[in-house]
Symmetry: C2
Subunit: 310 residues, 2 copies
């Protein structure tokens, strides 16, 4: 699993930071999370083949998280995409999206499946071969949703030396990988623990933006390997954070700590910060393993798990 | 007058070329022409103070000329713009624009004056202190308009030596600059030609995109100092140009030649061209003073006039 940050600004982009967009590569499938203006250019710049995106998740209906979608959808159509595309967004976006495409005379070469986000409980919204995706409510000026991407538990790894030693036939291997014991020709039972090694622990990634501090979020993202949480302001601007429905760096770190996250990335920085060092330092007082999101930077989530284990 | 190209791609942007947007600086006032996705980032990257933009001209309602406007309008509002902003666009965009801003809960800090473009005749759409702007019809799949920016004829320049020689009082200077003779205290008439020098010829810039070849355009932009004309394809793809309502490089050059333009910039290049050299070479066979648009490049229109005169 690899995360690439395409945009890390808040509503006002700067020359170094584009509006919000992340792309998660899980087992060579791409999942786009938010789609701020310029997402398609950032995908190109980072040589990410956006034809491989089959799912787009929109957290909430503020322009800095959405205004890149029209250009991206048009471009996919100009590239003659055939496969249908799944868009997960607050329920009222379905009408807005289709009417805006129609306003611009855009007839897509592919179908859109719209999956509405609504409600106050976490919900499973995608279950594919390798991962599940759930959404959960955040706290913002408009309905806003976080997303949790979780790898499925892989089968146990079978030991090659055990296959040879006991002459295990190929047909039996799938069940042994799922935990079955092996019975040899002479009737002796070889316990699964002698045949297999534990599969790696599933990785997970959670995206929480935009949101004010919510004490429900740690429960939603418990034990997540990598947490992205917005940190628009430093603590001295907490009252501004309250008014605008955003979080401070300390609050983001508090969520990471309460959730027992492996690592925290903060982003969605207010354009007032020319350098975000002070935000990172503030967060590290509470959660040391905090890093600032930077446009174009990638994070190997597998390495985070290893580092946390060590 | 200085033109800066912010985007020179056609519908599919590349990593080097953003979608269409030009900004014209005329006497330190900024005029934005088309507003493709990423325009606000390109303005920042080129250090153009976009708070100084008071007029936005939209040629037609295809996304690669418009999708940057929502983010730009939002950003201007976040920057607490107070001055009203004039938007010139095909008439049906007024409803689309306002409803899309409303969909995204965007309440602007300033007023928008919408000036609808319609009809089949050239029309004066702006007349300010230094320039006039006219629109004229192009030929595309949807209603599309070109724009002609023309400096006003400046007053004649009064000669400082003449002021001293004849003791011309300050009160008389404005009328002399407009062509009046001067009558001295003893009644002798000094003809204006002895008192003033000719003002520089007014500069002009025309933007023609998107459009198929139209034999009306040379008449609309007769004698323009700098002409931008789209050249999406090379001549070998003329049939594709016909179907899609675009021009070839030769056709763009033909328009420049027929119009007696000072210089031609071609752009809106199909993403199939990794290098646009062949398009420029094709155009130069017909109109030698042809150059390719490049994102971030500026063109001093005053220098073009001088070069043409020499």
């Amino acid at each position: 699993m690899k995360l690439t940050v395409l945009g890390s600004s808040s509503a006002l982009p700067t020359s170094e930071r584009y509006p919000s967009a992340h792309v998660l590569n899980a087992h060579e499938r791409l999942y786009l999370i938010d789609c701020g203006e310029g997402t398609q250019m950032q995908l190109r710049r980072n040589r990410i083949r956006f034809g491989k995106i089959n799912h787009i998740f929109i957290s909430h209906l503020h322009g800095d998280h959405v205004f890149g979608i029209y250009g991206l959808l048009s471009s996919l159509s100009l590239m003659n995409r055939a496969a249908s595309l799944n868009i997960y967004a607050p329920a009222n976006y379905e009408y807005i999206l289709h009417s805006h495409l129609k306003d611009f005379d855009i007839k897509l070469s592919y179908e859109i499946n719209f999956i509405p986000l609504a409600g106050k409980d976490p919900a499973l919204i995608l279950d594919d071969r390798h991962i599940t995706v759930s959404c959960f409510p955040l706290v913002h000026r408009v309905p806003s949703f976080g997303f949790l991407f979780r790898e499925k538990q892989a089968d146990r790894n079978i030991r090659k030396d055990a296959i040879e030693k006991y002459g295990i036939p190929g047909l039996r291997i799938p069940s042994i990988k799922k935990g079955a014991d092996f019975v040899t020709a002479d009737g002796s039972v070889i316990p699964n623990s002698e045949l297999t090694l534990e599969a790696p622990e599933p990785l997970s990634y959670a995206y929480c933006s935009d949101t004010a501090f919510s004490d429900l979020v740690p429960g939603f993202v418990k034990g997540v390997t990598l947490l992205y949480h917005e940190a628009t302001f430093e603590s001295s601007l907490m009252s501004l954070a309250r008014i605008t429905g955003h979080s401070t760096a300390s609050e983001a770190a508090g969520i990471a700590k309460l959730a027992g996250a492996g690592k925290l990335i903060i982003g969605h920085f207010s354009s007032r910060y020319k350098s975000v060092t002070q935000l990172v330092e503030e967060a590290r007082l509470i959660f040391p393993d905090t890093y600032p999101a930077e446009d174009g930077q990638s994070y190997n989530i597998d390495e985070i798990r290893k580092a946390v284990k060590e």
